[in-house]
Symmetry: C2
Subunit: 451 residues, 2 copies
């Protein structure tokens, strides 16, 4: 009987543990059930033989830590994920209630099933599986599960800064990941950073009749003019110095990127567009997605926006702007450059607030944790994993790569199209079973010094 | 006993007629009570000896016409005003219910009291006063009262076009006007025109995660860039040909303008600003207010505009833009120029709709109706009237000056700060009494060929 078959009978146990975990809402954006969920997670870890503790965070959600020491190894792997979930709204689009964890068609339906409680469970189960085989763990495991990832991990930087020794390891697996549409696990070697700002301008103390336009500043015009100095019509960010710290992708990065399957037609259909931005195609489009810094107007509001017309000179205007950053741009440095640029352009009247920041991260493709996970992926899924040199999204990965100087990968077992951040989120029974095996083998492979 | 004193006993009668008129709501924006109010107005005119009829308007509100023929004169004066009113919201800020027409402190409190049912009543009463003196009217009077002024007079152009002969007169008094803060009647010789457009841009079929920014068009950026090509940071409208038809103010216009009292400090206090736009002061600020074409962003909406941050790439964006036009700019021509400009600038993807249009109007300061009203103003109010060569606001005046080739003035008896378009609108008993005398004398003066 293979190790694979030995695990089968236990999957039901892990499915039930996951369903219990899912039935406890943990909506960080609404502060709903998050602390209760942290408590439940910590207790579950203890049941699985992982020594766990819950660390309260002032004005935030608890961090759940865990440790499982090996008697025979010095090497340590840190597992990161988040136990909080997105809000379930709109509720009326769910076929199964969002916290029912109903099991139907071999799927568990619940908010958080694929993002990311299923992934947490896979790693807890992996430790349990190894221990139940009567084996000593081949490496030490540490766990850090936060409860604020879905709201931008606001307290994690300080927590990491204050707990460097506690978190020290030889590598990190951020298991908040999943499979690509063909069923291959994706292994991401880095994330873009983010600088999210709000720009505001105000003038008169009330909205005025628009006939007053010759006499009173229009904050909406000020904001349009100011935004226009940030990015040109070809999409280039033109704030002085913005690109100074950008490390262009290496030949190796580009080679790895070019191996990623990229279905342009499918993407265009999904977005409902005739062509991609700037007429990009194929490898160029994918390289742009992975490696280009961006500047996105996420929101803009001023004046009258109801039906028909109202002749109003607005008293204020604001815009929300999201800058995605690539290695090795620094959000704090760029925020200062942005402010300085606006002042230099004559827009000192525009207030600017930083609403979010995450630094970009990179792990080399040659890192041993990458090889450990890739070998596990080949064995468990029978396919080559998709190695992604840089993910277009953002996360707190830099805390591990930059602050703690560890290699870190993002990889998990969530199925593609499993409705993360949308109604009817699910995880399948078989993807959890594979995910447990993927975790077991990643851990075992990482123990091998010859890998 | 002077003519003045003879009228006194009758004022109460007109006050009561006005209160009845005010108690009938006529909110064109909400299609509330407008037709009933038109019926009431027509009946009231008949009671006052004015031969009146109500003309239904397809998909619109009725026009109320009236005529009073003189047995001894060929000269005719057309009186224009509107019987519809602004919505009364916010209701909880009214001390007296908005359609109670409560009489307190010598004031009648009601939506429409000063804008503009009081002004209508003043002219109806004026006709009645002259007839009751046992006199033949010195000129013919015609009346046109519309029920859609507060929503931009959408059906008046077609009505005027189809009823040119019916409306033919030697001059027009648009009595939707009032007094300045010092108590002097304002006589406006023209209005700015308006072109109100909505610009829209769409891209993906749904809002996307902002990490997709390298691949998908951001409609908010498209709109910001397009708007930026309309007006430069010094406030100059830079659409090619926009200013081609602008007639610069004449020396006479400027002389008249410079006589208008202009309290810059008070304006700045009212707006809550430290300085006027571009640091304008005194006569320059007033000239700009009266004579400059404008381009105002009245509204802009895209993406996420709630608290904190959301990383969204919006699927669409729209802006509402109000262009005020000066003599002799043509909104239809400018709309074509705007569309052509956007196409030439590479913004053919931006849809543009015309939501409103009014042409600018001008009447020469030497017109006899100006002299007739000015003389009446001096006699009734004991002060020089404020002659305004051009009003910063807009209205359907061009239908009279351009389409019917008549001189037209805007002047009325509403007190300054009488809360038009705001809660607690009122008219005072004495302002109505003076308004009736102002109307009587304007009519009588206009009959004098030697004026």
């Amino acid at each position: 009987m293979s190790a694979h078959e030995q695990e089968r009978p236990h999957v039901d146990k892990y499915i039930e543990a996951l369903r219990e975990f899912l039935r406890q809402p943990s909506i960080s954006a609404q502060d709903r059930g998050v602390k209760e969920c942290a408590q439940m997670l910590s207790e579950m870890m203890n049941r699985f033989g992982i020594s766990s503790k819950l660390v309260p965070v002032k004005d935030g959600q608890p961090v759940v830590l865990g440790e499982l020491k090996s008697g025979r190894a010095d090497r340590t792997l840190l597992i990161y994920d988040h136990y909080d979930v997105q809000p379930p709204e709109p509720l009326d689009e769910w076929i199964h209630p969002p916290f029912s964890a109903d099991l139907e068609d071999e799927r568990i339906w619940s908010r958080g099933a694929s993002d990311s409680k299923g992934n947490i469970l896979a790693y807890l189960a992996a430790a349990d599986v190894i221990l139940r085989r009567g084996k000593e763990l081949p490496i030490n495991l540490k766990f850090i599960f936060e409860g604020e990832e879905e709201i931008g991990s606001p307290h994690l930087p300080e927590f990491v800064e204050n707990n460097k020794d506690l978190l020290r390891a030889d590598a990190v697996v951020c298991c908040d990941g999943g499979l690509d549409p063909s069923g291959s696990p994706v292994i991401s070697l880095g994330l873009k950073g983010i600088l999210y700002v709000e720009m505001r301008c105000s003038a008169a103390k009330t909205d005025l009749h628009s006939s007053r336009a010759p006499l009173v500043t229009n904050p909406a015009w000020r904001l349009v003019w100011a935004l226009n100095t940030l990015k040109d019509r070809d999409g280039r960010i033109i704030v002085p110095g913005w690109l100074d710290d950008v490390k262009v992708p290496t030949t190796s990065d580009l080679e790895i990127a070019d191996r990623i399957p990229f279905d342009e037609m499918k993407l265009k259909e999904e977005y409902g567009v005739k062509e991609l931005l700037g007429g990009k195609v194929g490898a160029d489009a994918l390289r742009s997605l992975l490696f280009d810094p961006t500047c996105t107007i996420c929101g803009f509001l001023t004046g009258y926006t109801g039906p028909k017309s109202k002749t109003v000179l607005p008293k204020s205007a604001f815009a929300k702007i999201d800058f995605r950053l690539v290695y090795d741009q620094d959000p704090d440095d760029l925020f200062r450059k942005l402010r300085k640029h606006l002042e230099a352009q004559g827009f000192a009247d525009i207030e600017i607030d930083m609403l979010g920041r995450l630094e970009p991260s990179r792990t080399p493709p040659t890192a041993s944790i990458v090889r450990a996970a890739a070998k596990a992926a080949r064995n468990v899924y029978g396919v080559e994993p998709v190695i992604c040199p840089n993910s277009p999204g953002s996360g707190p990965d830099y805390l591990f790569t930059k602050k703690l100087k560890m290699d870190s990968i993002w990889t998990g077992c969530a199925p593609a199209f499993s409705n993360a951040h949308a109604p009817n989120e699910f995880i399948t029974r078989s993807s959890l079973a594979s995910g447990i095996r993927y975790a077991v083998e990643t851990i075992e492979n990482f123990a091998d010094p010859k890998l």
